[in-house]
């Protein structure tokens, strides 16, 4: 079993994720020598236009895809050489919730806990907490078939958190959620970051990134084109007091013009 549950022991400077020279080619290049560093315990938003390589990056980090070249280190573990060790501390939530229609949320959480080898009593306590925290209580013993997108996403989020990951990777987790469900999910994520969990999230909802992320990375054509806090990004572009949306659009427009 991996280095233990989330904790605040990682110093702010320690690195949760270190990606170097990551390349992946499908029909055309998806990633082109991407470098990315995420510090332990921070909330990192990865932004980019459609097809920029965000999901490819996250799928490689989560061990769902092999890169053509480059390295991925998760809390010091080489994720390409020892993917099982890296996966022990990672949780992955894609935009399409990976749940089973015929299982109840509790059964799903029990199954996920089994996959990650979590002690049953501990997993059960965590499952109860998460189910209540995410407002799934009334439906906890109903099969997931017929659940709304928001409920399915909350079940998937609970599954990601039930094994106490140190690195939580979320690909568009708030897409399709109503305001109340989005608020619950965001609150849970903020709490986890407070507890020392590192969160990497892609989103097209820029207000969410603006409010929640400590640092923001902008990726385009498979490369990181800008990175920093919102203020740092504004300074880089000579904007002052403008929204992330304007900063982002300006960055992407400049990149397109330069290409």
């Amino acid at each position: 079993m991996a280095p233990d549950a989330p904790n605040g022991s990682d110093s702010p400077s320690s690195v949760a994720l270190d990606v170097r020279g990551l390349s992946k080619h499908f029909d055309k290049p998806a990633l082109d020598g991407l470098d990315l560093t995420v510090r332990a315990g921070e909330f990192y938003a990865l932004l980019g236009p459609n097809g920029a390589g965000k999901t490819t990056t996250l799928r490689i980090v989560a061990g769902l895809l092999r890169p053509d070249a480059g390295s991925v280190s998760v809390f010091g573990t080489d994720a390409l050489a020892d993917p099982v060790a890296a996966k022990r501390v990672i949780a992955w939530v894609p935009d399409e919730p990976p749940i089973y229609e015929k299982l109840t949320p509790y059964e799903y959480l029990e199954f996920v806990a089994g996959l990650w080898g979590v002690d049953a009593a501990h997993a059960e306590r965590r499952a109860h907490e998460l189910v209540e925290r995410l407002g799934l209580g009334p439906n906890a013993h109903e099969r997931c078939q017929g659940f709304s997108k928001g409920m399915r996403q909350k079940v998937a989020l609970a599954g990601a958190l039930v094994h106490d990951p140190r690195l939580l990777i979320l690909d568009e987790p708030l897409t399709g959620l109503d305001a109340a469900a989005a608020r619950q999910a965001k609150d849970v994520l903020v709490e986890r970051v407070r507890d020392g969990v590192t969160v990497i999230m892609t989103t097209h909802i820029l207000e969410v990134a603006e409010r929640m992320a400590e640092r923001i990375g902008v990726i385009d054509r498979g490369r990181l084109i800008a990175e920093g806090t919102l203020d740092e990004l504004r300074r880089q572009l000579g904007h002052d007091g403008t929204s992330l949306e304007e900063v982002f659009l300006d960055l992407v427009a400049r990149q397109s013009a330069a290409a």
């Binding site: 061990g63 769902l64 990976p98 059964e107 959480l109 089994g114 013993h141 099969r143």
Partner: protein, 514 residues
Amino acid sequence: MTLAVTQSATLGWFARHELRLFWRDFISMLTAGKRRLEGVLLLVAFAFAVGAHLFAAWLLGPYANTGIVLDKATLLMVTTSLLLFVTMMVSQAMESVTRAFYARADLDLILSSPASSRRLFAVRMAAIALAATLLTAVLAAPLLDVLAYYDGPRWLAGYGVIAAMGALSTAGALLLTVALFRTVGPKRTRMVSQIVSAVIGAAFVIGIQAAAILSTGSLSRITLLRSEAVVAAAPDPSSPIWWPAWAATGDVASLVVLLAIGFGALALVIAGTAGRFGAYVVAAAGVDFRNAAVHRGSAAFRPLAVKRALRRKEWMLIRRDPWLMSQTLMQILYLLPPALLLWRNFGDGVNALLILVPVLVMASGQLAGGLAWLAVSGEDAPDLMAAAPVPARTIIVAKIEAVLGAVALIALPLLAALAFASPRLALVGALGIAVSAGSATMVQIWFRGQAKRSNFRRRQTSSRVATLAEALSSILWAGTAALVAGGTWLALGPALFALLTLGGVWIIRPRREG
């Protein structure tokens, strides 16, 4: 600027729309969406038609060549064959009607448009009748054509009887499904209807085999239908019960009556139910399946090792899949006649029991192939599996264990019963089941892809090689088991072919990353 509004969606317009969708769907299903395979498909269809006709000629030629006398025995045989087709058509139509109730597809678009949903559903019901009729006509074509060739074109009237039966069967299936919908409600109709259609599809075959076993001690329907007692008990040839048989053999008056009854019944049922079909579909869409599927799980989480968690998950999903359950139920139902044979022959010597061994081996291979597809290719959360800190090999091994465990659960009671009569046959059966189920599972693992679990019905489209190899290995292992049970070294032949088949598909299996 306004768009010119042309005529609203007429019956003909809907029919063209449905026909186009049906045709593209059908071709896509056969070619797995690869248009370049359409030419190959034509060749395969032609070769299959020729092969089926040659087989029918070999089967019926000696009987038909001497001229067929329409006595009670022949009428009984024709009527029984027609009844077989009818149960098949009712079963297929029920499944199609149920799918029409619950599949959303384009219904949201159409029901939200100003077009008449009554016309749409009238066309869809007619399409269900057409599909049921066409499938049966394709299956019956070799028999009818060969009979027409040897005994005269009067047998071509059989196609008319099939059309009438197709219309009548669809009308019956529609009424039955609507009745289910109104009695058990939209929440349960889907599952109940799938089970009822499976039972209807199997009941007649099983019933007649059971009757054959009990009266003649064999599985042969022909032996039963030609037995003196049954022929003597059958009604006189002038009885209206033989009208379908007379019609099938070229009696024009009977054919006209049958066509009028069949299409009249379908028209009446469509007219009576099409208007309400939209309401049924809306009711089905509004069903809160969460309430229907409330499951009080165990209060406490169980400590589960990874493999055990995976096996448990697979078994739970299999158990909770109504369509799969109905299919498995049907496979078990088909095992009933051999079980009856076992019971009847118990103590009478083991020779008659030999037939059980290949039946069990074949059924187990097919069952394992289906379950393996569900567990491996039909995994609903592949990302979760890939992201878990579990080696891929462990996951695959656990899934194999889950599949073989499920097959063993079904096969063991039958093997135990067989062991009472003949421990040697039980041992041969057990080994055959293990090898056949293992082979089918491995084929599905070699050719695994990612598909929706709900696509189980069309799993053959993802890999025809896998489907063929799975069926072939099951047949060959069944043959091997039969010959081993018979105590002959000839068993080495099919075993060798089975191994060659498996070796061949292993060589051409898709290579995977990592």
